[in-house]
């Protein structure tokens, strides 16, 4: 099917459409950060604790920063972290899934034992320990990589089972018998099936990474100088915005992250239903 046709089919789902619009809006905000009048890391660049006004759309915080421009940076950085985490962990997941599914035998058993272990162990605590390790060199890149190291286990399993079912098909045997190299076979015959899978899991993984970034910020393990949705929330919390009722400061990151999570989720639900109609919520049923 052609790309415009796929897009047309997807946009017919209202959830995809809404999620797409919301994401476009958030991306627009992220891009706006490049036009910010002030450096987001500076304190006291504007008067403190102002309510929303024409000059400061969302008001200012107790650190003397414009909340609106802070938010644009926060979205940008959170998205970058999640993309780094998502893309790297997709690469790991695809590699492990491919090797495990294709080689089988002991390799498969060892790799699946590791990914099972990842699923069972309370990963959050391990991530916390590692985050403490690299606390001093915590930045967007290192955080992204850290999260990437832990976000692949489930998806590697999904990809592996896809590879297993592909391997049973006729073309694998035919291709191998006719002397096609393994690498070429994988690229030509497997990737077309695995790419959509990797993409649909990417969205879920990004959402997971953003959530974990927020959590790590709240427990104080990220670099507080880099504005992200997590650090913005953490600053608001540590300045008692909740008790003092500075809602503009506190709710900005909350509302933005809620929008982001819901949009990403709806996008992924819509895409995975498109890829696998069996999961589609049937609109008709019963007798």
């Amino acid at each position: 099917m052609s790309t415009p046709q796929i897009a047309k089919d997807l946009f017919r789902d209202y959830r995809f459409l809404l999620a797409f619009i919301v994401l476009c809006f958030l991306l627009f905000l992220a891009v706006l950060s490049f036009f910010s009048p002030s450096d987001p890391t500076l304190w006291f660049s504007v008067p403190r604790d102002l309510p929303p006004s024409r000059q400061y759309i969302l008001g200012t915080n107790s650190k003397g920063q414009d909340i609106f421009w802070q938010a644009t940076f926060a979205i940008r950085n959170s998205l970058i972290i999640s993309v780094i985490a998502g893309v790297i962990s997709r690469i790991i997941a695809v590699l492990i899934g491919l090797i495990s599914g294709y080689r089988g035998g002991t390799t498969d058993r060892v790799l699946m034992f590791i990914s099972d272990g990842f699923l069972v162990i309370p990963l959050f605590l391990i991530i916390v320990m590692l985050a403490m390790l690299i606390r001093d060199m915590m930045n967007i890149l290192t955080l992204g990589i850290l999260l990437a190291c832990f976000g692949w286990a489930w998806d590697a399993r999904v990809i592996r089972s896809q590879v297993l079912s592909l391997r049973e098909r006729e073309f694998t045997r035919t291709a191998l018998l006719s002397g096609t190299g393994v690498v070429k076979l994988v690229i030509k015959e497997y990737l077309p099936y695995i790419t959509p899978l990797a993409f649909s899991t990417l969205i879920n993984n990004m959402s997971w990474a953003i959530g974990l970034e927020i959590t790590l910020s709240i427990v104080g393990l990220t670099n507080m100088d880099i504005p992200t949705l997590g650090t913005m929330l953490k600053w608001a919390m540590s300045y008692q915005a909740l008790l003092l009722g500075r809602w503009n400061w506190l709710l900005t990151p909350v509302v933005l992250s809620v929008l982001l999570f819901i949009a990403l989720y709806w996008l992924s639900v819509s895409i995975s239903e498109y890829l696998d109609p069996r999961t589609r919520v049937q609109r008709v049923g019963g007798e």
Binding site: L123, F124, I126, I134, I218, V281, Q282, G286
Partner: protein, 334 residues
């Protein structure tokens, strides 16, 4: 047959996961670019305390011993396991010199109580409501519920808990903001104390139950729709078996089986969620202890909490796996 083909490999896997998990817990702090001893001292300094050089030397020696950093890594590793078997996780730094195990013992009942209740509740509620909604998926209430879940399901624990806290404790002052019981209240088995505890537990529990149930709801609804298409459900309909019976005994009963496995697989995540929720509500369980440990750089305490969690979760998963055949007569481990 069961023992040889299934139980022994499964037990081996269980011990291997624990062994590797604990080993990782042991090694992570040892790869730190900064020595935890140095870090602790610099943290004390950063709080503005003046330390004279002689004291520092003494402190380094003491801390090295307390952190179990004496000798080679091999020696430390063996010592670590030896102490672990005795339930000795070393001494906490943030509440010096309380043993880590004592701190965990105080916090554990709160976490276990919260976690156990909410996990069971959300699993049961999510599966039953999701099952009914999946069976009657053309009803209006089922679609509305599905719509609501589409908004709740994607939210991470922290954001959802914070939202509830803002809404139900600040905007509408229905519940206490934080804590496990009213301040200054001593534990006792009186009705008013229990009510007080329940009132404090309500918001954290609500937030865990709603989020958990939302996710079970969706999974269950999806599974039910596949079970609905099974021959035995069609046959029950052909036979004019009463709808309620088909729904519960045929559809939901069968849909719950994969959810048992899913429960085992998500226990680790559920624990993480509970820890985070505790932090939001300053609930006096392991989550809060972890929070303090992170903030004070208390490696021993974090290692203790993590090691304990690994053992507890893998043991629970093992138990669920071993109990599974009770629910599914087809499994015989042939």
């Amino acid at each position: 047959m069961f023992v040889k083909r299934y139980l022994i490999p499964r037990l081996l896997q269980y011990f291997l996961v624990i062994f590797l998990g604990i080993t990782i817990v042991f090694f992570i702090p040892r790869f730190a670019p900064t020595n935890p001893v140095q870090r602790t001292i610099s943290e004390i300094r950063s709080r503005g305390t003046y330390l004279n050089p002689a004291d520092v030397e003494q402190m380094v020696a003491d801390l090295t011993r307390l952190y179990g950093l004496e000798g080679s890594w091999g020696e430390q590793y063996i010592e670590f396991w030896r102490k672990l078997f005795k339930g000795d996780f070393g001494i906490s730094f943030f509440q010096f010199p309380t043993p880590v195990i004592e701190l965990i013992k105080t916090a554990l009942p709160w976490t276990v109580g919260l976690l156990f209740t909410t996990t069971v509740l959300s699993w049961v509620i999510g599966n039953i409501i999701g099952g009914i909604a999946g069976y009657r998926n053309n009803r209006l209430w089922s679609r509305i519920l599905d719509g609501v879940v589409m908004f709740i399901r994607p939210l991470p624990y922290y954001i959802f808990a914070l939202g509830l806290l803002i809404l139900l404790a600040y905007v509408f002052r229905l519940f206490p903001i934080s804590g496990g019981a009213s301040i200054g209240r001593l534990p006792s088995f009186t009705l008013s104390y229990i009510l007080d505890v329940l009132k404090h537990a309500f918001l954290p529990a609500l937030s865990l139950v709603v989020l958990g149930a939302a996710s079970w709801f969706q999974a269950s609804k999806l599974i039910v729709q596949n079970v609905n298409a099974e021959d035995f459900v069609q046959y029950a309909q052909l036979g004019g078996i009463k709808e309620r019976k088909i729904m519960f005994k045929y559809v939901i009963r069968n849909a719950m089986l994969p959810q048992i496995t899913n429960l085992a697989l998500s226990l680790g995540q559920i624990l993480s969620g509970a820890l985070i929720t505790e932090i939001v509500f300053s609930y006096p369980g392991l989550g809060n202890l972890l929070f303090s440990a992170i903030n004070t750089g208390d490696y021993n305490l974090i290692m203790g909490i993590t090691a304990l969690s690994i053992v507890a979760i893998t043991t629970l998963v093992l138990m669920i796996d071993l109990l599974y055949p009770l629910f599914d007569p087809r499994i015989k481990y042939k």
